[in-house]
Symmetry: C2
Subunit: 596 residues, 2 copies
C-alpha cells in the first residue's frame, strides 16, 4: 500500500538503494554534531538509518537544525549514498548507507525526556508505567510487543489449521461459582443489579459445545479480582479452547501443537513431542509441587525406610506420628557452613521445623551437625538412595508429609533453579484430585466444579482420593494453564455439587440454567486455557508479565498513566442505583482534613 507521508521505511535501506530519492519519517535517536554537520540516527518501526543534515545543503532553517533534540518526530527527504568505507557500521542492517537530507521538517517536537529511551538505563517501574508511551519506544519493549503479537498469531494459525472456529463469548455475564473474586459492573437499566466480568469463558464455551459448535477457540480477556500476588493482573489474556467428542488426548495433542508453533515462532526451536508427563501424585512426590521445574533433576526421595529404626529422636518422632523424612541431593553447591545454616533458616521461614544438611565426604562419609546421631547403615542408605558422590550436599526435612514435600519443593527451586529461561522444559501434569480441602476442612473443587471425575462412584464414596480428568501445562516451573474433560451428564454434575456441600436449592438457584442446558443432548467435551501473558514472558525471558503487557497495572491495580481507578461523580453513581459507603466517605474526609 502506498503511504502518503513517506516513500521508504528507514530500516530497509541498503546499498542497492544508493542513488534513490527517499522520504522518511521517524524519531531522532542519537544526534552528533561534527563541525556543524549534524548526524542523526533516524528511527522508525522498521529500524534505524543515519541521516546527514549539512547546513550547506539547507535542508531546514538553521534554527530548526539547531533545535533538533532526542525523540523529535521529523520527516526527511534526501538521497541515499554509501557511507565512506571506514565509516560503515557492520552492526546496523543499514550500516553501509546514509541519507543526505535535502529537506527536513519537524513534525512534532519533544520536551526533555523523563528517562533515556534505551535498554541500558535502569528506570523505576512506576515511572516507566507513567510514561508507558515512551517506555514502549525502548528496543526491548518493542520486541516484547512484537513477540506477543506473533505469539497470538501463531496460536490462531494452529487453531484455524485444526478447524476451530473463533467465537466471542460475552464479558458482561452473571456472577459465577467463584463469585467472591468476580469484578462487578452495575447495571443502569436495572438499578442495584450487577453484571460480572468473566474469570474465564468456562460456562459459555460449554454452552457452545451443547450448541453443536464442536471446535471453539478464543483469545479471551478474563478478569480476576485477586489479592495482591506477585505477577498477577486484574485482567489477563488466555487462549481458550474446547472440543466436543473429545477426551484428554485430543486436548494434550492440541496443546503440544500450539506450544511447538509458538516456541518455533519466538525461539526458532523445534520441540520434541510428546511432552513429558507426570501424574499429579508423581509431581508432588518427586518435586513437591504440582508445577515442577524439570530443567534440572534434584528430585525428592523418601528416606523414611532408611530411618525406619533410627535412634535419632527428631526423626523417629516424626515417623511415629505418621510423618516422613525426605531429602534431595542438591549436588556440589559450593556453600560454606554458614551458607548451609542459612538454608536451614530459610526452611524454617518457609514453615519447616528445620532442615538437616549433610556434606558427602571423599571417603563416602557424611559431615553434618546431626551425623553423630546416625548409624553407619543409615548413612550408607542415605548416600545410596540419594546417589551421593563426594562433594554433594544432601538436604533433609522431617515433618508431616505435606509440609516435607512443600518445603523441599521450594528449597529445591531456590538452590537448583537456573537464572532466566534459555532452556525450555514443557510438561503435562495429569490426574489431579477432584477435590482438595479448604482451611475449614470442607471439600472444594481443585480445578472447578465442572471437571469430570475418572470414576463417579469413587468420587462419591472416597472424595478425598478421587482422581479427575484434569491436566495442567507447565513450562519451567510455571503453570501455563489448565483444563479438563468436562462433566456432560447432569446427574454427575449434581453429585459434584452435592459433594461440595452445595444444597439442591442452592445449586438450582446458582446453576439451574446450566444444569438444564446439560439435559438436551450434551456431547462429551474437553478443553483448556493457556495464559498468554505468562507464556510470552517466559519465551521472552522477561522478569515479569508486566513486561509483555502493553499497558499493565501496578501490583495494587493502579494505572500511573491515566490515574485509574478513580473516584467518580455522585451523580454518575446515582444513575446506577449505588453509592459509596458512608464509612469510605468518612475515611476520605478524614484523609483530606489530615492531609491538608
Amino acid at each position: 500500500m502506498a503511504q502518503t507521508m513517506r516513500t521508504h521505511d528507514a530500516g530497509t535501506l541498503r546499498a542497492a538503494d544508493v542513488g534513490s530519492e527517499v522520504t522518511l519519517a521517524g524519531w531522532v535517536g542519537r544526534r552528533r554534531d561534527h563541525g556543524g554537520v549534524i548526524f542523526v540516527d533516524l528511527r522508525d518501526a522498521s529500524g534505524i538509518v543515519q541521516v546527514v543534515l549539512n547546513p550547506d545543503d539547507a535542508p531546514a532553517s538553521e534554527q530548526e537544525l539547531n533545535s533538533l533534540r532526542m525523540e523529535f518526530c521529523i520527516s526527511v527527504s534526501g538521497t541515499v549514498r554509501l557511507r565512506p568505507g571506514d565509516m560503515a557500521n557492520p552492526d546496523l542492517p543499514t550500516g553501509e548507507v546514509e541519507v543526505v537530507a535535502a529537506e527536513m521538517a519537524v513534525l512534532s517536537p519533544s520536551e526533555t525526556l523523563p528517562f533515556q529511551i534505551d535498554d541500558r538505563t535502569e528506570v523505576d517501574e512506576a515511572k516507566r508505567l507513567q510514561y508507558r508511551y515512551l517506555d514502549l519506544r525502548r528496543p526491548s519493549m518493542t520486541a516484547n510487543l512484537r513477540a506477543r503479537s506473533r505469539t497470538i498469531r501463531a496460536m490462531r494459525d494452529v487453531m484455524d489449521d485444526l478447524g476451530f472456529m473463533e467465537i466471542e463469548t460475552p464479558t458482561l455475564i452473571a456472577s459465577t461459582p467463584e463469585g467472591a473474586r468476580d469484578m462487578l459492573v452495575p447495571s443502569r437499566l436495572r438499578e442495584g443489579s450487577f453484571y460480572a466480568l468473566p474469570q474465564s469463558p468456562q460456562l459459555f464455551k460449554q454452552l457452545l459445545m451443547i450448541g453443536g459448535v464442536e471446535r471453539y477457540y478464543q483469545i479471551a480477556r478474563c478478569y480476576r479480582d485477586e489479592d495482591l500476588r506477585a505477577d498477577r493482573q486484574l485482567e489477563f489474556t488466555q487462549l481458550d479452547f474446547e472440543g466436543s467428542f473429545w477426551g484428554q488426548e485430543d486436548v494434550l495433542s492440541t496443546l503440544e501443537e500450539v506450544s511447538i508453533r509458538v516456541t518455533k515462532e519466538l525461539r526458532g526451536i523445534d520441540l520434541d513431542r510428546p511432552f513429558p508427563r507426570l501424574t499429579w501424585h508423581q509431581a508432588m512426590e518427586r518435586y513437591g509441587t504440582d508445577k515442577p521445574d524439570i530443567r534440572f533433576g534434584m528430585e525428592i526421595h523418601d528416606l523414611s525406610g532408611v530411618f525406619a529404626e533410627t535412634g535419632f529422636n527428631a526423626f523417629s518422632g516424626v515417623l511415629a506420628s505418621g510423618g516422613s523424612i525426605r531429602g534431595i541431593n542438591a549436588g556440589p553447591l559450593g556453600l560454606s557452613r554458614s551458607g548451609l545454616d542459612g538454608l536451614s533458616s530459610r526452611a524454617q521461614e518457609l514453615g519447616a521445623k528445620g532442615l538437616v544438611w549433610m556434606v558427602t565426604e571423599e571417603d563416602g562419609g557424611l559431615r553434618s551437625p546431626v551425623a553423630k546421631f546416625l548409624s553407619d547403615r543409615e548413612m550408607e542408605g542415605l548416600v545410596g538412595t540419594l546417589g551421593a558422590v563426594p562433594g554433594d550436599i544432601l538436604l533433609l526435612v522431617a515433618d508431616e508429609t505435606r509440609t516435607v514435600l512443600e518445603i523441599l519443593g521450594l528449597i529445591r527451586l531456590e538452590v537448583g533453579q537456573s537464572e532466566g529461561h534459555d532452556e525450555l522444559a514443557y510438561l503435562f501434569v495429569v490426574d489431579f484430585p477432584v477435590f482438595e480441602r479448604n482451611e475449614d476442612g470442607d471439600f472444594v473443587a481443585l480445578h472447578h466444579p465442572f471437571t469430570a471425575p475418572v470414576d463417579v462412584r469413587e468420587m462419591s464414596e472416597n472424595p478425598g482420593h478421587a482422581i479427575s480428568k484434569a491436566y495442567d501445562l507447565v513450562l519451567n516451573g510455571s503453570e501455563l494453564g489448565s483444563g479438563s474433560v468436562r462433566i456432560h451428564d447432569p446427574e454427575v454434575q449434581a453429585k459434584v455439587f452435592e459433594t461440595l456441600g452445595i444444597s439442591d436449592e442452592d445449586a438450582e438457584r446458582r446453576f439451574g440454567w446450566f444444569l438444564e442446558a446439560l439435559r438436551y443432548g450434551t456431547p462429551p467435551h474437553a478443553g483448556f486455557a493457556v495464559g498468554v501473558d505468562r507464556l510470552v514472558a517466559i519465551l521472552q525471558n522477561a522478569p515479569n508479565i508486566r513486561e509483555v503487557i502493553p499497558f499493565p497495572k501496578t501490583q495494587s491495580g493502579a494505572d500511573p498513566l491515566t490515574g485509574s481507578p478513580a473516584r467518580v461523580e455522585d451523580e454518575q453513581l446515582r444513575e446506577l442505583g449505588i453509592e459509596v459507603r458512608p464509612e469510605v466517605r468518612a475515611e476520605w474526609a478524614a484523609g483530606e482534613s489530615a492531609g491538608g
Copy 2:
C-alpha cells in the same frame, strides 16, 4: 489430528467411502421408522448423513433404539454403503450413501425440546435467547457463527498482510470524555474508586502511536451504556486500527481492502474500488442523512428557486423565514390517494408540518391537492428539476432546511428502501463538521475531541462551519464505523477543548496525562473502527445484530439464559466500598410486599 471418539465427520462421507468402517458422533435430527428399521439423520458440525438402525443387526438394545428421540447425542459405528438408486438424496452432499450401524450408543439423551431445531419454526426471541444453546443448533445460526468467525479472520488476514501488529489495550481504564455512558467497575483494592470499561480504545491506540508502534490493530470489545435503542448492545466488537505517518487516504484505502476481502469471503463478490465518496454536506443535501443508502437514487432536490416567486402562501412563508422547499421524485409508487395521504401523515409523525404529494399525469401536468395554488411555470420547473415522467410521484416538504432534509431523508428510505441486503453499496462520507450544537446550543465534538480540524484558524474563528478530517464508512444506509486523522499537536488539542467550553483546569484534570503525552514527539496519525456486528449482520442478511452475536442481551440489557444482571450479596458490595442506594432497596421491598 486423530480424534479419539470418531473416525469421520458425518457430513464428509461420499460414494468413495463405500465399504469403509466408520465411527461417527452427533445429534439425532429427523428420525423415521420404516417397519421397525429406524432411519436417523445424524448431524454433526460438518453436516448430515443418514444412519440405518436395523434391530436385526442388533446395534443397541431394543429399549435404546426405541428411546431414541430428536437431539439425542449418539455415537454410531458401522459401514458406509450406497443407498438404493431411487433412495439417493441429491439435495444432501452425503445423499448417495448411508451408514448401516453395527453399534449405537446414546452419549447423552435430550428432554423434550422447547422448540424445533430448524429454520422453519418461528420462535419468540426471548425463548430463543433463554435456550440459546439450542437456538445455535439451527442451520441459520450455525451459518451466522461461521460467517462471523470467517469475517474476523479475513479482517486479521488483511491487517497482517499490511504489516499491522495486533496489540491488546486494557479494558479496565479511567473514565473518558464521554464518561456519562461509561460502564463502571468498582475497585476492591481502592474502595470507592472505579475503573471504566472502554467505549473504544481511542486514547490507548493514540498512545501506541506515540509509543512508535506505527501500525496497530485489534478486534476490540467495547462497551457503551446506551439508552434503549434499536439494534444496539451494551458490549460490541470492532476492528480498531491506527497508523502513524498516515493521512485520510491511507485509512480509506485500508478500509477498502478490508471490505473487499470480507465481502469476497462471505458473498463471493468482487467489489470495485475506489468506493464512491460523498462529503458530509453532499450527503445531507442529497440524501438528508450522513449515512445514505445509495442502492437507489431518489435524491433530494432543492426547489426553492422554482418557488422563489410563488403565490402559494405555505411555500412563500417558509422561504421568507429562511427555510427551503425540497422534494424527491419517488417514481411510480403505485399508491392510491389514501396511500399518498398516508405518506403526509407519516411525515407529520416524523416532525414535518406537512408533506405535499403530486402525481405526474400523462400530459406532463401535476395532480395534487395543492395544484391549484401553483403556476404553470412552477409546475414545469418542478417536473424539470425532478426529471418527472408520467406516473412519477413527487413528494415535497417546505420547512426549516434541517427539518426538510431530515424528513425527506426518512421518507425516501421508507418509500425507496428495498427489503434485505442482496445488493451491497459501500460508501465513504468525508469532510464532517468538527462540531455540532447540542440541545443547549453548546458546541460538542461531532466525532470526538481528538479529531483534527482541516484548518485550525477556521475552527477557532468559525467553529460552526469548520470541517474536520473525519470520515465514515457506510453500507446500505448503515454506518459501519468512523474514523479520523487525529490531532498530534498539543496546542491544537488545547484549542479544541477551549472551543468545547472545557476550561484549562478541567482539561488538565481530565486529559492532562494525554496532553502531556502529545508533547514527546507525537507522529501524525489516523485511524478507524469498523463495527463487526453490523457488518456481519448486513452481509448475512440478518434482520438485527443479535442474530450474529453468539450470546446477545435483550434490548433491556438482560440475558434470559443466565439471568444477568442480578442482585448480589451485600457482603460482596461491602468489600468494594459501595452499597445499593436506600431508595432502590425501598423500591425492592415495596415490590416484594406488593408482589407477594
